[in-house]
Amino acid sequence: MHARVLVTLKKGVLDPAGEAVAGSLRQLGFEEVRGARIGKVIEIDLGDVPQAEAEKRLREMGQKLLANTVIEDFEVVL
């Protein structure tokens, strides 16, 4: 089973790289861009695990290591 964990910066935490990307997009003519936030995608190969169990384990992974929950949120996509 393959899963993805999406890690994003919490709202309100400064993301200078995201702001730079938004600025560049606007310069390239995408004037509608109001903002950009940069996150991480972690692709995980789980082997043979039942879906419910996988989801629970992935949440633990997110809490324990993949995201720093002081500044980041995460989402599990199976």
């Binding site: 935490v13 200078p16 991480k40 290591l65 720093n68 002081v70 500044i71």
Partner: protein
């Protein structure tokens, strides 16, 4: 006094910390491998040095906090033993929860290495007790993720509890850290994390000796109360 300097894979300021303690101050210092589970008998202080532990994978310090030695470091801190995290060491302390808050990329989005002036904000810690309050220390910074982040409640608490050890001088904040914080203490005041490098500012020949008193304070704090 015996001080253990932990070498994680990717640490690169471990030698420098040992050098200042041993060669400049004459304090017994030795390196400890991150996979060890115990601090050597007689350890009185621990330094988590600068560098790029685990290549800064995921987030600076995120993987090092799970190194086997960290259990012993935490136990040492809980007993009141002094623990100093410098640069990547501070990032590890924050990731491991020994210090609150989080570290973000510098607001410039670039690595920054330069000399900065930091102001001593409290004398109530083993590390800062030999300074004057308000004293300006000349020390280098060298980091990419040095922007200290704390939500407003936490910032208020750090201030109320006098736990901000060092602040960058106004206008000289190299990374955008909240409230110009360059170093902070845990509630027990025996764990200090700081982004600037006092070990690179402990010999006049290298441009400053202002960092020396920090190590002298740490080394004499817990004398005889070995782990």
């Amino acid at each position: 006094m015996r001080i253990a300097v932990v070498t994680f894979p990717g640490s690169n300021c471990d030698e420098d910390a040992v050098h200042v303690l041993r060669n400049v101050l004459g304090v017994a210092a030795f390196k400890v491998w991150h996979r060890d589970t115990q601090l050597p008998a007689g350890t009185e202080g621990v330094i988590l040095p600068g560098g790029f532990s685990y290549g800064d994978a995921l987030r600076s310090g995120a993987l090092a906090r799970f190194s086997p030695i960290m259990g012993a470091v935490r136990a040492h801190a809980e007993k009141g033993g002094p623990v100093l995290g410098i640069c990547n060491g501070m990032q590890i302390l924050v990731e491991s929860g020994l210090l609150p808050g989080a570290m973000l990329q510098n607001s410039s989005r670039k690595f920054v290495c330069r000399w900065v002036g930091i102001q001593v904000e409290t004398l109530h810690s083993p590390f800062t007790r030999f300074y004057q309050k308000g004293q300006i220390l000349n020390v280098p910074v060298a980091h990419h993720e040095g922007c200290y982040y704390a939500p407003p409640e936490l910032l208020a608490q750090l201030k109320a509890e006098d736990r901000i050890a060092f602040r960058y001088q106004a206008g000289d904040n190299p990374n955008g850290a909240a409230d110009d914080i360059a170093g902070l203490l845990n509630p027990g005041r025996n764990v200090l994390g700081m982004m600037p490098h006092p070990e690179r500012a402990s010999e006049g020949l290298l441009g400053s000796e202002d960092g020396k008193a920090l190590f002298v304070g740490m080394a004499s704090a817990w004398a005889g109360r070995a782990a």
